[in-house]
């Protein structure tokens, strides 16, 4: 079953179109990433799916309910971690969770206390339960915001930039916790981010959006593969111009480029089958090989290339 099914979703603010014709599905149990630069429409998409605002056109079903028809039911099933932590700074850590637990309908006192304790212990905040939120660090606030989103055991977790404005250490901690949550509790997670590391480390599938429009969608591996053929870098002891020329006619070799006379950058159809033949050909031509290195494009390369290809 699909946790989210969005069809031609559109949201305009006056003349500005924040989200335009967005169609995508999120399967139950997966971690789905909305990846895009600032102003891509990620926050608006999250707000639409959490029924905080209504669409100008199109539709979306969240946990089986239409966002325009049954927003109340969706709010009960969805946990939202907004761009800002949205915590009451004059209330304590415990009081914040207590308020939200009750707002989400946990009325049994014992169940409520147990759930709050469980979450605060998981996020290493139990010792800070009586501290006012005002006195917590940014990282702690972000963890508390995650705990708040989880307090009612939602079926779907919507996370808007969960690692934004965090130092690398706190970001890594939050990332680990999201990963653990997804594995341990099997929750469906839809997260928006402009941090490629979040997408790479957390997401099963990613949709790249830019200026409200879908650019592409796939697993992080598929996105990597979509941006170009595999490349192998061969470093030689001797000059490589002649060898480069002789390699150009070989089967499976699409292109050969020279980098600082000793390095060959070779684009291949299939590196697994072609690399051994390639190495043999270089040796046959008198090349003394120092190293052979497959050059994998990073998700950042893929992301920048995909955005560059689709300047909306």
């Amino acid at each position: 079953m699909q946790a989210v099914s969005a069809r031609q979703l559109q949201r305009k603010f006056g003349p500005y179109t924040a989200v335009d014709d967005l169609t995508f599905d999120v399967e139950e149990g997966e971690v789905f990433g909305l990846l895009g630069p600032n102003g891509a429409g990620k926050t608006t998409t999250i707000r639409l799916l959490s029924c905080l605002i209504s669409p100008t056109a199109g539709s979306a079903a969240v946990c089986g309910f239409e966002i325009t028809e049954e927003p109340g039911k969706i709010r009960e099933m969805v946990g939202v971690q907004t761009e800002n932590p949205c915590l009451y700074e004059r209330l304590t850590t415990f009081e914040n969770l207590d308020f939200f637990a009750q707002a989400f309908g946990i009325s049994n006192l014992e169940d409520k206390r147990q759930r709050i304790r469980e979450l605060l212990e998981f996020f290493n905040l139990w010792d800070d339960r009586d501290k006012k939120v005002d006195h917590l660090s940014k990282g702690m606030k972000q963890k508390l915001a995650l705990a708040r989103a989880l307090v009612h055991k939602p079926k779907l977790l919507l996370l808007d930039e969960p690692t934004a404005n965090l130092d690398p250490e706190s970001a890594a901690e939050v990332r680990t916790m999201i990963s653990q949550l997804s594995e341990r509790e099997g929750r469906t997670v839809l997260l928006s981010t402009h941090h490629l590391e979040d997408a790479e480390k957390l997401c099963d599938r990613v949709m790249i959006v830019n200026r409200g429009v879908r650019v592409t969608e796939g697993t992080p591996q598929e996105l990597l593969e979509s941006v170009g053929d595999p490349v192998v870098e061969v470093t030689l002891r001797n000059r490589s111009t002649m060898i480069a020329n002789s390699l150009r006619g070989n089967a499976g070799v699409k292109a050969v480029a020279l980098a600082d006379h000793q390095k060959l950058v070779i684009t291949l159809d299939n590196p697994d089958s072609t690399t051994p033949d390639l190495v043999a050909a270089i040796v046959r031509d008198g090349g003394e090989i120092l190293s052979v290195k497959p050059l994998t494009p990073s998700l950042e390369d893929a992301y920048l290339q995909l955005l560059g290809r689709n300047p909306v």
Partner: protein, 274 residues
């Protein structure tokens, strides 16, 4: 659907926040305290020429619109007694009504606009609490605090006035009296409710607390007009006027409340924030 549990939940959360918010508590305590103590002191301290020179007969032109009973009472007093009596019972009555307006305005403007400023509104709107539950919970906090502030200020005003004037009036206490009891327990709550309803509605539509507070200035205009009207002798802040105000404001309360419930929606709040 409005669940009392949801209304009380928002009420309790806001109450807890306000109790810990010095920026709200400070003016909420200080301003009424100044009003309640300073107004009686100003009235009984003859510092201005008219306080010492005017006779009770000289005050009669100002009392022209008042009922005969008031005029007769004043006519039997000395000049200073008449001035103190007129100021404390009638002239300051509309001034005192600024307390519920000020109190409700401070708290109500902090409701949705304050949540927007502190960037907590999205978390609240993402809960399954209904729009009406949030609206009522927030109105209830403002209303209750406005009532507490007004009642406490009135008690202090009465005590200070009686302490300062009991000798001047031969052992007779000016407070409490029927007019002021009606003012505090009927007119002030109606006025506070109308102000809260409008301020909360505006608070949901603007980005900041200051913009939301400006709406309360509208309520001060008729009060200031009443003060000026009384000093010029063209109107009396007496029981018939108070009754008329209660009736008009009670109708306004119903209209404002119905409009608030009908038009308040979370979609609008975040759309305006985007």
């Amino acid at each position: 659907m409005i669940r009392p549990h949801g209304v009380l939940l928002v009420f309790r959360k806001d109450w807890l926040e306000i109790r810990r918010n010095r920026a709200v508590l400070f003016p909420l305590i200080l301003v009424p305290l100044i009003f309640a103590v300073m107004l009686p002191i100003v009235a009984v301290t003859p510092t201005l020429p008219f306080q010492t020179q005017v006779s009770s007969q000289g005050l009669l032109p100002i009392l022209k619109p008042f009922p005969d009973q008031v005029k007769e009472e004043v006519a039997s007093m000395s000049g200073q007694q008449a001035i103190v009596y007129f100021m404390l019972l009638y002239l300051f009555a509309p001034v005192f009504l600024m307390i519920p307006i000020m109190a409700s305005s401070i708290i109500a403007s902090d409701s949705f606009a304050g949540e927007k400023e502190r960037k907590t509104i999205e978390g609240l709107l993402a809960t399954p609490l209904s729009d009406s539950e949030m609206l009522l919970g927030k109105m209830l906090v403002s209303f209750l605090l406005a009532l507490i502030t007004t009642t406490a200020s009135f008690a202090l005003y009465s005590a200070v006035t009686d302490y300062l004037t009991i000798g001047m009036f031969g052992g007779k206490m000016l407070f409490p009296n029927e007019l002021w009891l009606t003012l505090i327990f009927l007119l002030a709550p109606s006025l506070a409710f109308a102000d809260i309803g409008l301020t909360v509605l505006v608070s949901a539509r603007v980005k900041g607390v200051k913009e939301a507070q400006q709406i309360s200035a509208l309520f001060l205009i008729p009060l200031i007009a009443t003060v000026l009207g009384q000093t010029s002798g063209s109107m009396a802040f007496d029981r018939p006027l108070v009754d008329l105000m209660i009736s008009v404001i009670a109708v306004s309360d119903i209209i404002i409340f119905m409009t608030a419930v009908k038009t308040f929606g979370r979609n609008q709040i975040l759309t305006r924030l985007s």
